[in-house]
Assembly symmetry: D2
């Protein structure tokens, strides 16, 4: 069996009706998260679990906690964990920040969906994040982008950067290659404490 | 009744299953085409006729020839002409370059669809375009973009420029505004002869 | 002399060190502004005056008030008005909203620069805008985009839409055509009152 | 010392006047290249060596051959190899395809610069690429994008996909966050033979 490489093609995941983080975005989030082999990771708003699964495949000696509030998402995450033979992924059915209670200190926090509670989520999540840890927030709305930037700017312990990613797939259609845009996603990535070098 | 302004909203056109040039792209194409009130215009690959209709509304004392090979397109162009009270739009059912035969000298040539015959179309269309006239080509594939640039570069009489337009609609969804990408379109716009200043 | 068409090439304007609204963005702003021949227009944060000049060329029987706080901008606006033979453009040296005082009712308000006072500017500008008038705000920062959307959403009299424009110029370099991105600009365009149809 | 993670920040590299593959693009190219710890890699048109260095840091038990025709590039690649303590990177001063002669079979071929010889380069490089190997081509011009797609489509042994990446950096300027576009880059990534799963 060939080894795992980041950036599993989208169509390999079970997806249902839930929006999925596309491959290129996943790659960028994973790269910004700098996941080590023993890292503990929380994925908030895990959706289909595509990001949780890839995080789990990178932290083979660590653990991923995937938080998701929709039952359909919970089922997909579990199914995708089986699909990729991932044993270090715990699914938590609930909403952040409440669902964060009881979790151990972690190395990485991924925030893919905040249900409008981004401020509260970061407030609760921050004490869980170890010094040197990384927080990576994805935003697909103006409000989330704006709020994420405002919050992280107010936290002097965090060094952050942000960029938007507009992917254009070039799809072969007969003898032509069409430009097909994916929706842009903004990625706000932070490291906690001066020790960590992004 | 209020006057016409360029950039009729997409939803005002009858569309069917035919891909339509989106408002922002139409605006840019119309701007590059610099349509005067008495201009004669050919729209090749007219599709739903959205561009033809706007061209006709600008050239109120001129004439638009909309060439389209699909029957569904022909019907939509006619319906949209009625919808916007346009009387100076002639629909030509056929494929360019053949469908160009018999047309008079023109001020503007719009090429929205070329069916793979861009070289031939430009070759036949060039003698129809008056000195000072404008040719505006839209490209949604790598091949059309490449071919259009190659052809216009080889025509010393034409001064051309090209740019791609990636529009992101910002749509309100509940209390948020989502980024939603439209597919990018490249616009190659040329003027014929040194007299014309783009 | 050939007539005016919207979208004057960037290099025709005197520019100095002041950032200029690029041609493609100007075209889109002008299209959303739907300027009629007798319209009265306020351009807030007029910069080099490129937008003011084009607005004045469209409202030949109307008037443009260009508000700008930097002396360099004031000089450039005046120079560009001369350059394009524009007589219906009044330059106001000052900052909005204060500089708005004493202005008559207007058909169009363009907000290109707000110096951090977007809320106040819109508050003061709103009573000046006639029913059926258009307000077009351009945003190049997350904060302006977010604030503009928040404000216009809170004004039930206004019907608004927003989109981002990412232009990629395709520049010939030797035998190749390079993709060169311009910075994205968001355009929030509103009409006041149900009578006006965007 | 903290471990290596893909996506070294741009400013950590010595750059000179040579254009450098930006971090986000590097990340995507590296992800598509799926570099294993013992892989042999050729980087054609290595420029500053940023990609070569990251490839070498991933193939710690393998080898990277960086081909570059400009002396300034050669010096920068060597300096960057020292900077990141990379010992498995061989610099080859010359132009592909000629500079490819004598190289062993490889797992990965990266084509960042082709000097107009993309067809010849791929023709010579193909026999060097092992079955299951990956070829990743970056294109910043219409011509390279078009040629790369045309060539790889004609090679039935290769399974390829292509996408464009438009990165918008969100830079803090005083109290605002400005959108700043990087030039778009297209990435054409292929695997050779059916065994390999991208």
């Amino acid at each position: 069996m060939r080894p795992y490489f980041p950036g599993i093609p989208d169509e390999k995941f079970k997806r249902g009706q839930i929006p999925m983080t596309k491959q290129e975005i996943r790659l960028m989030v994973l790269a910004k998260a700098q996941i080590g082999p023993k890292d503990i990771i929380i994925d908030i708003g895990a959706g289909t679990g595509s990001l949780s699964v890839e995080a789990a495949l990178q932290a083979t000696g660590g653990q991923v906690f995937a938080i998701e509030r929709e039952q359909e998402g919970i089922d997909l995450i579990a199914a995708n964990a089986v699909q990729f033979g991932v044993g270090n992924l715990s699914v938590i059915h609930g909403s952040a920040p409440a669902a964060l209670s009881g979790l151990p200190p972690v190395d990485v926090i991924l925030v893919g969906g905040s249900g409008g509670y981004l401020t509260e989520i970061i407030q609760y999540a921050d004490p869980l994040l170890k010094t040197g840890g990384r927080m990576v927030i994805t935003a697909v709305t103006v409000e989330t982008l704006h709020k994420a930037l405002t919050i992280v700017d107010s936290m002097p312990e965090y060094q952050c950067e942000a960029s938007g990613l507009q992917v254009t797939r070039v799809r072969r259609v007969a003898a032509h290659h069409m430009f097909q845009a994916l929706n842009p996603v903004y990625i706000i990535s932070c490291s906690k404490g001066a020790q960590h070098d992004r």
